[in-house]
């Protein structure tokens, strides 16, 4: 439920603070952007300071980090991974490719705007975004979570028909199971 600062209950404040300070990231390294994740996580830029921690499976993760371009083939896997994650969940679009296709803007089999297929909460601009930019994006997501505004998952549930139509438009062989996430 989207709630502004005034109507937040005490439980909401505690829960949002915990959610803000503990982000389990599923880094979906599709493109070249995956190379910026190791320096973000390791000793030079140490994202664990902010409670950001890599997780190995979608079931345990909170944040889906889509790093780079998505071919229609990988989009299918990203949708499956996203739907396996547990609420509340967030998506960070990483790099220009998730915003407008980047250098793949006229490619025949990559998507251009990720937000048409899964709801993106925060975009990180750049090609490549440096680790500083990645951490800034995470901090911005933390701010949104604290205010209770990072509600992409609810948007996805409400507009599931629109998202499904968009997804089926680009994914020709749609033979995915129905997840009751």
């Amino acid at each position: 439920m989207p709630n502004d600062k005034k109507s937040q209950k005490i439980v909401d404040i505690i829960q949002n603070a915990a959610r803000k300070h503990s982000l389990f990231v599923l880094a979906y390294g599709t493109g070249c952007g995956a190379i910026e994740i190791p320096p973000t996580m390791t000793s030079r830029y140490d994202a664990e300071r902010f409670g950001i921690r890599g997780m190995a499976t979608p079931r345990q993760a909170d944040v889906l980090l889509v790093t780079g371009y998505l071919a229609t083939k990988t989009l299918k896997r990203v949708i499956r991974a996203y739907e396996q994650m547990q609420d509340p969940k967030y998506v960070i679009g990483f790099g220009s490719c998730t915003i407008n296709g980047g250098m793949y803007w006229d490619s025949y089999n990559t998507i251009k705007l990720l937000d048409k297929y899964i709801p993106v909460d925060v975009y990180i601009n750049g090609c490549m975004p440096r680790p500083e930019a990645v951490i800034t994006g995470f901090v911005e997501l933390q701010g949104l979570i604290k205010e209770g505004k990072a509600n992409g998952a609810e948007k996805y549930k409400e507009n599931i028909d629109w998202y499904r139509a968009n997804q089926k438009k680009v994914i020709k062989n749609w033979n995915m199971p129905d997840y009751n996430w």
Binding site: D46, R49, M55, T57, R59, Q84, M85, D87
Partner: protein, 307 residues
């Protein structure tokens, strides 16, 4: 109904809360120490509290059947039950709670401490995830590895003190005025080496192996199931440390001594783990069946021939 049972229940709850708090803070310290050794700043020490609160406040938790519900429940049941049989403080009742000791509770604990892992194995088996199946088989194989030196160490000290109860061992150490780790050092070394495997830090994090197995048995557990598993793991870490302190290091007479002793003991697997890569499964088992078992057998023989 008299009041004593309610006081016991209050003491029981206080013990569980103490175990949970200390265990979670130890987890935070481990992450902080790991970070400092890797030249990072690291998360705050209360980071694991945030993680657990966040996981408990997840809105959905998918499950694949009854056994997956019961797996984490078995794990936390085993942790709390084991905690009930371990005297937290030596010589006095920890705030009116008399722990449920009886003759032979050390042997009972040997079984009880395995129960949680077996429950998790059943729960992970139902998820149908191949990573879980591999993780479970690796974890149970490794358990066969470290249980042998662990049992040998316990047999040695049980023969030394002629008792199979933890309070009996504590009384024996108090009466002799020396710790069991000095009285039968070979058993202590064998138990310490087995403890490296019980904590599942590297190089013995074979069943979890995030890089190759996607966290193994836990890979299909999300949300509240994972929160339950983290709670259970925190309590169980405290249980193992206090048990080790009780039987080898003479127990602790107050909370500060308890924290000092358990923390120093905890640093052994942690620091050894930070600087180590991961073993393969058969390397891990071979390790435990090598020197730790040999030292354990020597410890038993030492007790047999010197006593």
């Amino acid at each position: 109904m008299d009041n004593s049972i309610w006081i016991s229940i209050l003491g029981f709850l206080a013990t569980v809360v103490l175990a949970f708090t200390v265990g979670v803070f130890y987890g935070g310290f481990v992450r902080k120490i790991t970070a400092r050794i890797q030249n990072r700043i690291g998360p705050p020490v209360y980071q694991n509290f945030f993680d657990i609160v966040k996981l408990y406040s997840k809105k959905t938790a998918i499950n694949h059947g009854w056994m997956q519900h019961l797996g984490p429940a078995f794990a936390i049941t085993a942790s709390v039950t084991s905690l009930m049989f371990i005297p937290v403080l030596n010589g006095q009742d920890w705030i009116w709670f008399e722990n449920l000791n009886f003759k032979g509770d050390l042997i009972f604990l040997l079984y009880m401490m395995v129960f949680g892992s077996l429950g998790m194995a059943l729960g992970a088996g139902q998820t149908g995830n191949p990573h879980s199946a591999i993780g479970v088989s690796r974890g149970l194989s490794q358990m066969v590895g470290y249980e042998i030196p662990w049992v040998l160490a316990l047999v040695a000290i049980m023969m030394q003190a002629h008792t199979t109860s933890i309070t009996g061992l504590l009384e024996y150490q108090n009466a002799n005025g020396t710790w069991m780790m000095f009285e039968s050092p070979l058993a202590f070394v064998a138990g310490l080496l087995a403890m490296l495997g019980m904590f599942h830090y590297a190089p013995f994090d074979v069943p979890f192996a995030p890089a190759e197995l996607a966290s193994g048995p836990a890979s299909e557990f999300g949300g509240k199931y994972l929160a339950l598993m983290m709670t259970s793991g925190s309590i169980f870490a405290f249980v193992k440390l206090v048990l080790f302190v009780d039987i080898f290091m003479g127990g602790a007479s107050n909370l500060i001594m308890l924290v000092v002793k358990t923390f120093l003991l905890y640093m052994v697997p942690v620091l050894y783990g930070i600087v180590s890569p991961r073993y393969r499964t058969e390397q891990s088992i071979r390790y435990f069946w090598g020197w730790p078992t040999f030292i354990g057998v020597l410890g038993v023989l030492y007790v047999v021939f010197t006593r």
